[in-house]
Amino acid sequence: MGKNKDRRGARKILLMGNPNVGKSAVFSRLTGARVIISNYPGTTVEFMQGYMKIGTERPIVIDVPGSYSLHPTSRAEEVAVKMLEQGDLVINIVDATNLERNLYLTLELLQRHIPVIVALNMWDDTAHRGINIDVQRLEEILSVPVVPTCGLTGEGIRQLIERIPEARAPKKPPCSAEKCWDEIGLIISEVQKLTHRHHTFLERLEDLSIKPFWSLLVGALVVFFSFWLIRFFGEGLINGVFEPLFRGAWLPLMYKLSAFLGGAGLMHHILVGELINGEIDFGISFGLLTTGLYVPLGMILPYIFSFYLILGLWEDSGYLPRFAVMTDNLMHHMGLHGFAIIPIILGLGCNVPGALATRILEGRREKFIAATLMAIAVPCMAQIAMIVGLVGERGGQFLGIIFATLFLVFVVKGLLLNKILKGKSPEILVEIPPYRLPQLLAVLKKLSMRLSSFLKEALPYVLIGILFVNILHALNVIDFLARLFSPVLQNIWGLPKEAISALLVGFLRKDVAIGMLGPLNLTTKQLVIGCTVLAIYFPCVATFMVLLRELGAKDMFKSAALMVVTAVVVGGLLNLILQF
């Protein structure tokens, strides 16, 4: 069959379609793979692959980022077009509630020399929207199989798989954009009937949240309520579950281990850490089994859980793109458009997916601005949890100072970059998907994927970070660096020179770095400056690698220089201004 087979000879099946038509949902139904599915265009910016079963065959299925046409207008669409050259068969996922617009890509695909089968997805939504499609007739006109499906519930997926062998390449003659649209108009008039129906409650709400005044009010309420919920769940989990677990069950074990190791020595130092006045302190002892487990599990995990729970609701309900439209005005002055808020919000969870999501932006200029702003001014949830844990006990107003400073840096930096950088950023032009009621099971599944990726990817780094600190201390490297950097640390930021160890570890993990400020006995002012500087000065290694790949070495170097300069300036200003 196809010429492009991988070493094992498996065929490549591509899932292609417009953004936000449910490709990822169908993908996960076909392959059983766990992928992130949300209700906004551009959820998938990287291609995903998995295996499915057709009889005895095990073809590779590739979830291609959404594209409106084969003439790419963004990086994600470029990826889609490139993938097409390597495929053996296309499952064209079409949004049945939006047939006309979706058929353009379908026609373009039918002109290629590749077999196509069409899945009329979101079929369950057509009835209550008063849309009636003659599937039989559509199939005759397109001369490829057309199967109604619903990716979310799995309806029609079996029929889709059964009919894959019938996929064919009609090799239609190419047409100009205008001719294609004329042809689509004719097809639509023949296969689709619309009946009038009343607006549903969700549709009324839909209009409200994109009206200027109401959208601001709704936005403020949703943001406030979301933060309240994140704190409520986060603190609830810490006080109700993790604190009792660590204090009640784990601490006695650690005391036994400490006694067994003789209360001192290298092994004791690495595993249990330092005893503070003869006691183990989970926050500042800095052993692998004490602080190393307590920080990621006892302090961070509860907030990661509650953040991603709420983010899942934002994503699946369809509120996220509306929020993006609301912020468009402000973002426009920062050289971005409203949709750039999506990588920023994802960055609040973890900067890595945030950096990846900058791919939904069109050009190099706005990718640079968005990525730099995120890396400088958007602390990830792990870092936020640590700051809240460490600074919160000195008083809520100090948390306010840190986050207000970061927000100010975000806005000012954005305005400056927009002035300095040559060129103009494109304006917003996006689809706002309809509201959907988030499905509990889907939200929980996405949450569990994100939690397990935190445990798999972050936990080892935290442990390595803490091990690294202990080794550096043992080798006296820290003292040397502390002397080297003491001018900046002491004279500009007003921090003790030992804080260099936190900056050093911050390259690896920002949360551990914040935690390292704990044992230094800092004043509240020093703590505020330390946390702010740590958030700004450089991305952690995982984010750095993704940014390097996304921006290229030259832009990454510029971006990093901006971060260091900003950290020096902002930390210095805080040191001058703050009086407590």
Binding site: P212, V325, N329, I428, V430
Partner: protein, 81 residues
Amino acid sequence: MLVDLTEMKAGESGTVVSLEGGRGLVLRLQNLGIRPGKRITKVSAHFWRGPITVRVGGPNLALGFGVASKVMVEVDRKRHG
């Protein structure tokens, strides 16, 4: 009456007459369903030359102010008022 999208009032409907932008912009607008001959309803306009939201057939679309000024619409206006 022929106006561009920014000059329409929220709630007004009309028929798209032409797209004035460059080739790339016209393609993107077409892909999202904004094409000559299509019925269009303006849903809202945000403050200070902010984005404009419209409905064309299916879902809502958001367009920046500059983009919206490139979409020419023959608007249905009632005689009175």
